[in-house]
């Protein structure tokens, strides 16, 4: 950091003068370089953050279709606004060094450390304090955002710690199966459909499960992501804020058609949703009567709707049954 001290000669030996002798004339130059770098960094960092937040920020995925999407967009923006100054600092320091201490610049010693750098208390304390504040700040920020966002759109398991405050919540069960998601609406008689339709301005309580292998329900624009495990009820919350279409993908490699395991859902006005749900309930009523009673996990044993793969009604996931070890096809129930 000094133009006049902390350097080595061509043989790599320490300079003839002692560190204490060198520090006195070095102080002015060192301070000058430091403040130059800090000033340049501060100006560029502010410009970068402001430009990012105003120009890029509103377009950062996953958008603002739901509360969790908005929250996550805000979180991503904050994280990037913290990261940008760090990036700018590295670039500014690098550029400053290249320009200031370039070899072609006559008479400028090489800044290769030495006692002045090793014992610079200000630099060391500043480095430790800055990185500690950054890491702890991000830890606290992330934790607080996870709590205030009712899980931030992530699966919280069967007993959510963070729940929304809304009094009106629409439960929707998501059933992963090789290789498609289907959805049940217990509020409307428990009908099951391949379409995911949601009302706007409504808090949704997803109950994500699977009836075979592990899948993962990822509604991208809703910013909801929850693993779908057989025999498990994984709950995730979000509140819809905008109408529109969204994409659902399985994000857990689940077999040959995993790549095709996606569908498109839509958020509609409450009246449109009500019309759709009511008509679908009526349309599927006879088939709904054949489904297992609505439960927080999809148990193929229930109501004999097991395809014959879980005949003992005790352990639907024993190896013998999972691997189809039942010889032939079982006799359908009378």
């Amino acid at each position: 950091m000094s133009e006049t001290s902390g350097t080595t000669d061509d043989q790599g030996t320490e300079p003839a003068s002692s560190a204490s002798d060198a520090s006195a004339p070095a102080a002015g130059g060192q301070t000058r370089h430091m403040w130059r770098i800090v000033t340049i960094w501060l100006v560029l960092a502010i410009i970068a953050d402001v430009l990012f937040y105003t120009l890029v920020g509103p377009h950062v995925p996953p958008g603002t279709m739901t509360s969790s999407a908005s929250d996550n967009q805000f979180d991503f923006n904050i994280l990037l606004m913290v990261a940008l100054p760090v990036l700018v600092a590295v670039w500014v320091y690098l550029a400053y060094c290249i320009i200031t201490w370039r070899a072609s610049r006559a008479g400028v010693p090489e800044p290769v450390g030495g006692p002045a750098a090793r014992t610079n208390l200000g630099v060391q304390v500043g480095w430790i304090v800055t990185t500690t504040v950054l890491v702890l700040g991000l830890f606290i920020f992330g934790t607080v955002r996870l709590i205030t966002g009712a899980g931030s759109g992530g699966g919280e398991g069967p007993n959510p710690i963070w729940t929304p405050t809304s009094a009106h919540i629409l439960p929707v069960q998501v059933i992963g199966q090789q290789w498609k998601f289907t959805y049940r609406y217990p509020t409307f008689g428990g009908f099951e459909t391949s379409q995911l339709v949601l009302p706007v301005d409504t808090t949704i309580e997803f109950h994500v499960t699977s009836l075979d292998v592990i899948h993962s329900f990822w509604a991208y624009q809703l910013s909801v992501k929850a693993d779908a495990n057989p025999g498990q009820d994984n709950v995730a919350f979000t509140t819809t804020r905008q109408t529109g279409n969204f994409t659902v993908r399985c994000s857990e490699l689940c077999g040959i058609w995993h790549g095709a395991m996606f569908n498109y859902g839509r958020v509609e006005s409450k009246s449109s949703f009500e019309d759709w749900a009511t008509s679908t309930q009526q349309l599927t009523a006879k088939n709904t009567a054949l489904l297992p009673p609505y439960a927080l996990t999809y148990t193929p044993d229930a109501n004999n709707a097991d395809g014959g793969y879980y005949p003992d009604n005790v352990d639907p996931y024993s190896n013998a049954e999972v691997y189809g070890a039942t010889p032939g096809k079982p006799t359908p129930p009378a």
């Binding site: 040959i256 058609w257 349309l283 599927t284 088939n287 014959g308 793969y309």
Partner: protein, 225 residues
């Protein structure tokens, strides 16, 4: 032989062995069923397809696997599940189901979805859903195109039937059920389809083997403009 010569011979042999191994892996992974092309007699005219499902294909590297077959427009049965269809065209499907059935793991697939009229014909009688838990038939397979929300349960032959077909292609002299339905192809694209009955007996959750091999219980509708 000099050291250089021996080294060259060993390296040459190694290259040959690796080449064979790579060729074997690639030839195992790459083969796909041939594409069966369907064209309309005139632009916009409907296309009739005849398809069958069999309990055992009877030939090939897995002769006991269940499978689909399709009849090309020359009347030949082709063991392929990749079908090329024109876009925005009505497809009339006649599907002969020669396999037996069982109760569905998920009765949602007992519902007819996405067909013209919202129903299909089961041996000439219209139906919109099928209770797989009663009777001796159950559902053997489904023909489902997830991206089109199209799904038709294929009702199994009676479990007490004695004249079941043992190898493809099956003829209508054997016990079978005939399902008929129609749908309209979407815009150009490749749309996967599959059976949603876990019929790969002996494999994890019944979804391995023929359920996970192109050409048996899943394929593509290659829709072209």
């Amino acid at each position: 032989m000099s050291f250089g010569g021996r080294l060259t011979a060993v390296l040459g042999l190694l290259v040959v062995v690796i080449g064979f191994a790579v060729w074997g892996v690639i030839s195992f992974l790459l083969p796909q069923p041939s594409t069966v092309v369907f064209t309309a007699s005139s632009p916009g005219a409907p296309i009739d397809m005849t398809v069958q499902t069999v309990p055992a294909i009877g030939f090939g590297f897995q002769p006991v696997w269940v499978s689909y077959l399709v009849q090309n427009q020359q009347g030949q049965w082709i063991h392929s599940t990749v079908w090329q269809l024109p876009a925005h065209t009505r497809i009339n499907v006649t599907l002969d189901q020669y396999d037996s059935g069982s109760p569905l793991r998920n009765q949602n697939w007992g519902r007819v979805q996405g067909t013209i009229g919202g129903h299909a014909l089961y041996n000439g009688k219209p139906f919109s859903y099928y209770d797989s838990n009663t009777g001796n038939n159950g559902v053997g397979h489904t023909f489902t195109v997830p991206a089109l929300n199209l799904s038709v349960p294929l009702i199994g032959v009676n479990g007490n039937a004695t004249n079941t077909c043992g190898a493809a292609p099956c003829t209508t002299n054997f016990a079978h059920n005939t399902m008929k339905f129609s749908f309209v192809t979407p815009g150009a694209g490749s749309y996967n389809w599959q059976c949603f009955v876990p019929c790969g007996g002996g494999y994890l959750y019944g979804n391995g083997g023929p359920m996970s091999t192109l050409g048996y219980m899943g394929g593509f509708l290659d829709v072209v403009a």
